[in-house]
Symmetry: C2
Subunit: 333 residues, 2 copies
DNA sequence: CGCTGCCCATGAAAGGTTTCACGTCCTGGC
DNA sequence: GCCAGGACGTGAAACCTTTCATGGGCAGCG
């Protein structure tokens, strides 16, 4: 802002107290609704405070109480459309509880994740909601001492919010099997993520039972495909492929199309996550829907609880997923 | 975190000083690289600090210096894929300058915007990057006293980062005209946003010059179309439509398709923003590309400058846009 | 009428850091 | 051999708030 040369310092509590002709302590009590203040005095103080446009200095408050009223949200990659809606819900839910959120995007790098956490704890966040990049890495050590809930991964010792990934993998596989597919390929998410492994393992197990797993490859959570994934697709061995994420599914569909094949006529694809794009894509993507909003809200709730009751045993809540059937799967006659 | 019952308090500067056998002042100087401290002493202090795992208490620091090392980012709607990439760049750029970012999502509501700002200034953010919902509303008053740069809107008195919307509108119209379209409709963004008006006005002016503006309607920045927009589309009076945002374009294409018409064979569509979906959509969307990343980086830079030089005259920087031609426009023969 | 207790209100300390103003000691120049 | 001044280091105040311990006054009870 190029307006005022001299930033008009905000009124301090001391000034309010003076203006109201009461002590600092009374002013503080009146404003925080604590302590014992006469009804008349309280109202008077409040009025004066309002006139002066008093806003408490959070830094000072934080120094006394150790509570900053801020929570940190650590996400891998805002660019993956899965995360913004998560962030949105977290931000809102936090706001209704009076918290602001520091959002950091770790860009998929473990060092960034480390730095992000440091920055956050330096700022004295009261709690952290963390969507880890990988299961290993410089995990637990970092967040020592700050209430934390972990999304997606079942990290020991933390409160955890997850979806039933295994069930999702199974659902995807069964859907394909039921549609008459036999030769099925699997593109799972990064090795490092247990949630990705769970999806894949369940899918693979199910496929093996009643069908034929023709290949299994890994890919980052990204539109861009690794060479080995592209090759698998090019082998044309599968009539259907299960992917570990919608983003991967969309990447795969692009590649399939570039091979001159059609989805779903030549090959069927099922995704995971049900990101907004899924239904906008042509063909609309059959995928596994996770209740992201609910999960985000649950994370905030869990964090609030954890912040006020540090001693409690950890909890783990698992949300159900469901298959939403759209146009990317062909049923074989 | 369900781990430690007793949060292991972090070491304080005083403790570091004592452990190192120096005064508080020296410790402070050593750690901040300020003041005059002997080389040997400094190293010693740093070593001790590291051993104790000392991390400065930002709240206390903030109280002294008035600087929190945090900036606020106020965005209308994370759900619009235009914003996450913006947010991502801002967060990263801020981080390299040592700032953390409070992200708030105002959900398109002016009251939320108000509350968000309050929360932010209460937290004592050093600066704010603000993407306003509308030009009017409870604007300038709110951010009084906090360095602010505004994105997208040319709010008087603030540093401003924009794209050349008018040029974008013109480009879009010319592209259609050059492709032989005559009867053109325009779906612009919300009235309240001057950036939306600029796009539309330039487009309309250009269309009028050499073609025929068959209708002009407004729509929120959303996939969902207002009734009047749907009606306009249903009139089938236009062979091409210019939209104020890719999101609107995609919504329009869906509707057009639901009418049994084809994009681009029956009607051509051009978007604005070049969000990630644009090129993934089928057909890939011809649109106006804004250099979001550059703009976000510029915003952070402008804010940093503003924060250290409050007196300077305001600046306004306007980025060029360009048309990216894809598959949603048919050239008439 | 005096005392017990309660209600209100206040002074003051504490919390972790930065930074000003000052002191000590040593070095080098004359 | 002295003194000026630089280099290094320190004590203490200040930032704004919360909260503990304390005190004054008044009502009601005995």
């Amino acid at each position: 802002m190029a307006k005022s040369e001299d930033p008009p310092r905000r009124a301090t509590l001391k000034e309010v107290a003076k203006a109201a002709g009461v002590s600092l302590a009374s002013a503080s009590y009146a404003i925080n609704g604590a302590g014992s203040v006469g009804e008349a005095t309280r109202e008077h103080i409040l009025k004066v405070a309002a006139e002066l446009g008093y806003r408490p200095n959070q830094s000072a408050k934080a120094m006394k109480t150790g509570k900053t009223g801020a929570i940190g949200l650590i996400l891998p990659d805002l660019t993956n459309p899965f995360f913004p809606s998560l962030a949105q819900v977290v931000i809102q839910a936090a706001r209704v509880h009076g918290y602001s959120v520091f959002l950091t995007d770790t860009e998929g790098s473990a060092e960034e994740e480390q730095r992000a956490v440091n920055l956050l704890v330096d700022h004295g966040v009261d709690g952290v909601i963390w969507f880890p990049i990988a299961d290993d890495g410089p995990v637990g050590k970092l967040i020592e001492g700050v209430p934390t809930v972990v999304l997606d991964r079942n990290l020991p010792g933390y409160d955890v919010i997850q979806a039933d990934y295994a069930d999702g993998g199974r659902l995807a596989a069964e859907h394909l099997l039921a549609a008459g597919h036999v030769n099925i390929g699997v593109i799972s998410g990064p090795h490092a993520a247990s949630s990705a492994r769970q999806r894949a393992e369940a899918a693979i197990a199910t496929v093996r039972e009643r069908g034929n797993l023709v290949w299994h490859v890994h890919n980052a959570y990204s539109l861009d495909l690794e060479p080995e994934v592209a090759q698998a697709l090019e082998s044309r061995a599968a009539t259907a492929v299960i992917t570990g994420a919608d983003l991967i599914a969309i990447g795969a569909m692009r590649h399939i199309r570039s091979l001159g094949q059609s989805v779903p006529d030549d090959v069927s694809v099922v995704g995971f996550d049900d990101i907004p794009w899924a239904q906008l894509h042509t063909p609309a993507l059959t995928t596994i829907d996770m209740p992201v909003e609910d999960m985000a809200a649950a994370a905030v709730e869990a964090l609030i609880r954890r912040m006020s009751a540090r001693g409690e045993p950890r909890r783990r809540v698992v949300f159900n997923v469901e298959l939403v059937s759209r146009d990317s799967v062909r049923v074989l006659t």
